[in-house]
Every structure is written in C-alpha cells, then in structure tokens.
C-alpha cells in the first residue's frame, strides 16, 4: 500500500501540507548537525519530501515505505530508499540497520500514520528514535473532524473519495485531541504546529447540501457550535513538529482513558478574600450537605497575601471530609470570568456549579441535583432560589452577616429560554451544568465580560443542554444593600454595555429552542397581538372622542357668537359695554336672561 497522498492543487504551493512540514523542519531542526546526518522519511511514498527537501538542510535523504513500487520510484530519482513493512514492529527495528550508525537529524511522517494498522507501535518507535537522536520529526495527519465531514455524517452521508480527510485507505482516524493523546502515550510532545486550514475541504460536496452551506440556518448553526467546541473545525491536516518528551517509551501503550469524572459535582467557588465571614457561611452550608459526592475548587482571585491567608484559614477550619475535597487555586489576573474558567480547567465532576463566596445552599442542594441527574443527565439542573437582603454587623468585635429582609421568591419558578433571552431569572447558585458543555462543546465563560458572565454562559448553555427545574427552594442568593458587590463595583453603564454585547451575540446566530418554548412564543405573540388590537381600538376611541370634543367646542363657539347680539340686547339701552354672561351672573350664579339660561343649560348638558 502506498502513501502517495494526492493533495489537490496546493501540493507544491506554499500552503500545502508538505510545504508546511518543510517550514516546521527548517524552524525546529537542530543547527550544527554532524556531517552525513540523515533525514529519515518514514512512509515516504513517491518521495515528495525528497523533492521538496532537495539540498536545503545538508542531510542525506533516506526514504522508507511499505510499497515496493513507491520505493523503486524514489530510488529512480536518485534518492536512497528502502522497502519494509512499517506495520510490523520487528521490521521497524530494521531501520537501525539501514541507518548503519548514521545519526538522524530529522524525520518526516507525512500521511503515513493514518495508514498504519498499529499506530501506537509506530509512534513508540518514533519516540525512541527521537529520544536517542535528540531529533525532531514532523508528522502530517488528516483531521477526520473537519466540519464538512461532520456536517454530512450527522445527516447520514459518508463519502469515500480517493483523497482528502476521509481517504478510504486510512486505517486510523484522528482528531487533534486523539492525536495529542496518542503522542503523549508514546512519550512524544508537540512543540509547534502549522496546520492546513480550509474553510471548504475536499469533502465540501455536494454543493447544494444544506448542512454544508455557509448561509443556511442549520449550516450556520452547526459551524457556530463546532467552532466553539474545538479550534480545528476547518483544519484539513495536522502538521505538527514533535520531539521526544522524556524517558519511559513503552512498546505497550496504555489503553485510552477518558477524563476522570468519578465525582458528581465540581463546585467552583470564587473569592477575593474580602468576605471571609460570608465564605465561612458558604463553607458551612457545604459541610452540612446530606450528599458529599462533590469537590470544591476555591479560586482565590487577585488576593493579597493577607486575603489569601484568611481564605486558607477558613479552609483549614473545615471538617476533614470537606478539607479533603477542597483545592485552592490562586489566580492573579482577569475579571469575573477568569476564575470560573480556571475552575473549569481543574474540575473533574460530571456537573459543575458556580458558587460565589456569599451564596448559601440548603442541606439537600447536592442531593437533589444528584437525584435529578439519574433521570436528566446531560441537562442543566436548576432549583428554586430565594433572594435575601443582607448586611454586616459587628458583635463583640466580630463581623456577622445579618438579613435585613425576608427571603423572597422573585425568580421565575420554571425555566424558559424565551423568557431568559429578555431577563435573567437564574442566579448561578441555583443551577448546575454538565461539564461536558466545556470539555466536549467548548463552552467557557467569556472573559471579555466584566459582569453578567453567568447570564451569558447560561444562555449559550441552556439552548444546547436544556434545563430541568427541581421544584424545591434550595439556594439563597444574597443581595448587598450597603457594601460593595459586583452590582455596585461596576457602574450601570458597564452593566448596560455588557448586556448589549450579550444581546448582540445571541442575536447574531441561530438559537436552538428547547421543546415547549414555541408554545410560550406563540402565547406571547397572541397576547401581544391582542394588546396591540386593544391599543388600536383605544386609539380609535380616543381619536373619536377628540373629534367629538373639537366639534363640541366649535358648536360652543358658534353658540357664543350667536348669543352675543342677544346678550347685547338683554343688557339694555343704558349699558354700552357688552357683557360676558360668564362673568356677570345673576344672584343664583346663572345668566340673568331666560334665553341665556336656556343656552347655558344646553351647553352644560352637552356630553361628547
């Protein structure tokens, strides 16, 4: 089987995998190699590397491949090449005989790895070789997770072209993560990468496929979600420079082990070490949990030495079972999102909670979430949260937290994404989310946001995971009326700017609405229509009344004009000046004359 990967169009261009590989070699190969050193081209195919290499690095090219015809072709162009079965571990050891004492300056493995039936052994050999020779290798491996492949596979389409990421000749398939893991297990480490990136890969067909379209809703949504999950959505080939990571290369690499998730809940507690009594209360509520299947990641964010010392004292004060579950992570940079992202990186739980140092939870908080996970794994789990105003008072020289008002149920009992798009109804202490949203779908807290980072995260997370509400009050969100909090530290203009940025982001991409939300949208739309119709009817009524009023005023004015001669006549011949009947009433307050009284009654009875 040859490895003559036929790269379309760009093979010899500066943007081809081979060209990238040569650039990496130039940057990372050690200078001052001994004379006669070798560049070893494992799985050399028909010698493309040999042609590109030329005499650039003053090394002797040695190609190796399984396919005899390819080896003959390389030899035919004047290069050294050898045929051996690269899938046979014993055959791999023959390379040392081929080298015959010559040192190896560099190695390439271009589109060879994915064709090996025993990738671990190939990499293990490479690891030993690089460790011994202190050399560098460049590997080129197709990315099976290019969005074009995935978008078609989701809808049941799998194309087997002769070339490209889904090359049917491959024996193994790699993502960036799986490749990195395979390297790590063979004591190899990536030191640089120059991947080939194509928005449209050679799998971008048929051209009319809606999921492949950059303009269709589903295509845009898929690409948005995929881009968020991992940075290689449009990488067609990984081009990586690797070296030996250290001793311990094994011929029997360990079996794949996924990330540890044997803990139910990772609680990320961010603190600045300035609310120590509040932190003590928060810890006490965790020490009192009826289910202890959790860990606590206390992120001491931008604390001074004294503040961190105070945090450490609170941790030291905890019962042994809780102390054993706490990890303290100091962090000296970033805004409110940074400690959450640090916590996410260190979390091991299947679910994650954001727990501020002034939050409180009830004793069954973990227990109810853990119960709900059994039926609703993969969904965000939410409980009812109450809001309570608090302040700090000192008694006997010690600061204590004191409620200044009753606990209030002011958040919507049931979660609606539609409602949340307008206003947040879920304080972070009231929900936990699957860690998979971070590890598998790439969600993290937006570090450009100085406030509302939890709201922004929830909106993105809820549409992917959905939300299950547990109908029980299990958390207390404290509201500080007279001391600094995020609400007071950040000015209103900053909150508004963050909110507008958040809305801008969610408005810019398709949103996946959970089942049941369309009913709410329809209901809201119906009610809005009814309100608009009512408003229109009221407007028409107002308009009608205004017209009647204008008519009445015109009629009144007309009547006043008509009355003026009579008024003058009624005033008698001795009275020269015209009278105003309104300013010259009789004893009973009414105009004196009978005619005037009649007219006045007519005007006063008039109702529009």
């Amino acid at each position: 089987m040859t490895s003559d990967y036929r790269e379309p169009a760009a093979e010899a261009s500066g943007d081809s995998a081979h060209a990238h590989a040569l650039e990496l070699l130039a940057e990372h190969r050690a200078a001052g190699r001994v004379e006669g050193a070798v560049h070893l081209d494992l799985s050399c195919g028909r010698g493309q590397v040999a042609d590109l290499l030329g005499d650039r690095f003053d090394v002797t090219y040695v190609g190796v491949d399984t396919d005899a015809a390819s080896v003959a072709a390389v030899r035919g162009r004047g290069h050294e090449a050898h045929q051996l079965d690269l899938d046979d571990p014993a055959e791999l050891e023959r390379i040392d005989q081929i080298l015959d004492g010559r040192s190896v300056a560099s190695v390439t493995l271009v589109h060879g790895l994915e064709q090996r039936t025993d990738v671990p052994h190939t990499l293990a050999y490479l690891g030993r070789l690089l460790a011994r020779e202190r050399g560098v290798a460049v590997i080129v491996v197709p990315n099976v997770t290019h969005v074009d492949v995935a978008a078609k596979a989701i809808f049941g389409r799998w194309d087997d072209p002769d070339a490209g990421p889904s090359d049917r000749r491959r024996s193994s398939f790699h993502s960036a993560a799986s490749l990195e893991r395979a390297l790590r297990r063979c004591a190899l480490a990536k030191i640089a990468e120059r991947n080939v990136v194509r928005a449209h890969s050679d799998q971008h067909f048929p051209s009319g496929h809606v999921a492949l379209s950059d303009r269709s809703t589903v295509g845009t949504w898929l690409r948005g979600v995929r881009d968020q999950a991992e940075p290689h959505a449009t990488t067609t080939e990984f081009v990586w420079a690797v070296t030996a990571a250290g001793p311990g290369v094994s011929d029997e690499p360990r079996a794949d082990v996924d990330d540890q998730d044997d803990v139910f809940l990772s609680i990320i507690m961010r603190t600045q070490g300035r609310r120590i009594q509040e932190l003590r209360e928060a810890m006490l509520s965790l020490a009192s949990q009826t289910v202890t299947d959790f860990e606590v990641l206390v992120v001491a964010h931008r604390t001074t030495a004294a503040e961190q010392g105070a945090v450490e004292e609170v941790i030291d004060d905890q019962p042994a079972f809780l102390r054993d579950r706490i990890r303290l992570l100091p962090l000296g940079r970033g805004e409110r999102s940074a400690p959450l992202n640090l916590g996410l990186e260190h979390a091991r739980g299947r679910y994650v909670s954001v727990f501020d140092d002034d939050d409180l939870v009830f004793a069954d908080w973990v227990a109810r979430f853990a119960e709900a996970e059994r039926e609703h794994a993969g969904r965000i789990l939410r409980v009812w949260t109450v809001l309570q105003d608090v302040t700090v008072t000192e008694v006997n020289g010690l600061a204590g937290v004191t409620a200044t008002g009753p606990a209030k149920s002011c958040y919507s009992p049931h979660f609606s994404l539609f409602e949340h798009v307008t206003a947040n109804q879920s304080p972070p202490i009231g929900f936990v989310f699957p860690r998979s949203l971070h590890t598998d779908l790439g969600l993290s807290f937006d570090e450009s946001m100085t406030t509302m980072e939890d709201y922004d995260f929830l909106l993105r997370a809820a549409q992917l995971a959905g939300v299950t509400t547990i109908e029980q009050t299990l958390a207390v969100y404290h509201w500080w009326s007279d001391r600094p909090s995020s609400r007071t530290v950040h000015p209103a203009s900053e909150w508004d700017a963050n909110l507008q940025a958040l809305f801008g982001r969610i408005d810019a991409r398709p949103m996946l609405m959970p089942a049941g939300e369309t009913w709410m949208m329809r209901d809201a739309r119906v009610r809005l229509t009814e309100a608009e119709e009512l408003s229109q009817r009221q407007q028409a009524r107002i308009h009608h009344l205004e017209e009647m009023l204008a008519n009445a005023e015109a009629e009144a004015a007309h009547l006043r004009l008509q009355l003026r001669p009579e008024q003058q006549r009624d005033a008698g011949p001795d009275d020269d000046s015209p009278r105003d009947e309104q300013s010259d009433p009789g004893a009973d307050g009414a105009p004196r004359d009978g005619t005037l009284r009649r007219v006045a009654r007519r005007v006063s009875r008039w109702r529009p």
């Binding site: 003590r280 042994a320 009830f362 004793a363 069954d364 006997n396 020289g397 937290v401 004191t402």
Partner: protein, 304 residues
Amino acid sequence: MQEPFPSTSRSVAVQSVVGGASSSRLERMLGALDNSARVGKVELACHRLVVLLGDAAPAPVLAEDHLQGLRDRFTHIDEIRHVMLDEPLGMARGHNALAAMGDTDFIVTSDAGTVPDARALWRLLGTFDEPTTGMAEAKQLPHEQSKAYDAGTGHTSWASSAFAMTPRSLFEKVGGFDEHTFVEHCADVDYSWMVREAGCTVVFQPAAIVFNDKALIERAGSERMSAEQVSAALAGLLLAHKWSREDVLDQLLAEYDTSPESAHHEAAGAFRERRDQGLLVPQRDSGHEIGYFRDGVYAEHRYE
C-alpha cells in the same frame, strides 16, 4: 483581625435531645463538633468538650457499636455520652436531665443534627468575657431568625435553644428550664427571661454560625403535629401568665375560644384546667420589664 477568643480556656458540654434525627445527621453533627474541638483546643479556647445525646426514640438512634466507631473517629471530643431517656421528656426536661449529668463550665443546648462552624462554640464563649452575659445564641443557617438585636453588644430579648450557650452556674441558679410549665415551646424564651431577670444579658452573636436546616427534620405524623399545635398554643398562654401579661392572656384566650382550630380550643381548655387546679407557677415581672409580647412574638423583629 485577631480572633477575639475567650480569655480563659473552659470546658463545654454540648447536649442534644435526640428525637427523630437520623443517625447520619447525628454523625454529621458529631463530625462538626469534633472539628470544633480540634480548632478550639489548638487555639486554647477550650480544654474539654463533651457531647451528651439524650435519646428519646423508641429504639436507640445510635447502636452501641456505631457509637463506639464514632468515638474512635472523633477523637478531639473528650467524651460522647449517649443516654436513653425513659420517655419522650420534651426539650425542657430532656435538657435539664442532660445538664444534671455534666460538670463542665458551660452548657450548650443544640437541636439534634445541627452542624456548627468550627469557631461557633468559641465565638459564643468569647461573649462571656463580658461578665454580665448569661446566655449567647448562634446564628442559624439557612433560615436566619429575624429577631432584633443590638448591633455592637448583640443584646436581644431571648435566645433560641437550637444552639445557645449558658454558664452551668447560672443554669443551676435559675433552676434550668421550667420543665413544670413548658414541654418544648417557649421553654427557651422563658429561660432567657429568667437569665435577664437574674441581671444578666442575652446575646445574639451573628458571627457564630450553625447550620440547622429544619426542612430536613423528619416530618412527624399528623397526630403528633396536632399535639404540637396544642402544646405550642398552650405554651403561649402559660408564658403570658408566668410573665404577668394578663392582657395578652385574656386576648389569647378570647382568640382561642373563637378559633376554628381545635388545637386552640384544647389549649384554652388545658390552661383553664391547670388554673382551676392551682397548677400554674407564680407570676413574675409584674412591672413588665423583662417579657415582651407583641403579635405572638417575644422580641422585636427586624422584618416581618
């Protein structure tokens, strides 16, 4: 800030009347007290911590081998005593009985299953550096009581026995809880007022925190709930009588007589029966300087 711990190391007994609390809740409570003892002894606030569990359940909540396992685990507690009470004595008699078994400088009454912060006991103890302090109460989480207290001294009308500390000498001087009058309800209010009548203060220390999630207390049957309603209503009448508030007593009796609740009728009947039989305790605080009665509560409140 330097922790204002008590100036002198003392011995403390934490006592609980175990009703329906599960063994897991008691275990969590003991673990927290063990941790308290660890911190208190390191910081020289305390040299001896004893836990007394008065078990009023039909069968022991903690079996002997389980208890021994807990003693082996919680080694910072000097003594864990589990005492079977002959009958459900109620909070007042139960605590009096447990107090009689101890010899420590201070007594702490605690609801079964309450989880204290490591420093709660020692912060309460610190309030007794002020010689006039007679009783100190911790703040309960997650449901904080809304009783008003003086920001600075912490002085308040009364302290809940859910987690409160008092000197043994004072407890004995005032005769402990008035078990002849009160079974459960109002016994702590009454004790607080007797402490104040003796010239001492009752202090609420919000920095001393305990977790007492009452939602977790196992729900009693409807029959017991009804009995508790009668007991609570009767306690209100007895408290008003004892603390010389005839006006409150008359008002309550009138309300109970016309109430649709049968528990209220029963309570009014029981009170009159006691009164007719001459079983009411002598009245005190005739000048109304100690007792506080308004709208069914016994202290000013910070909010409704």
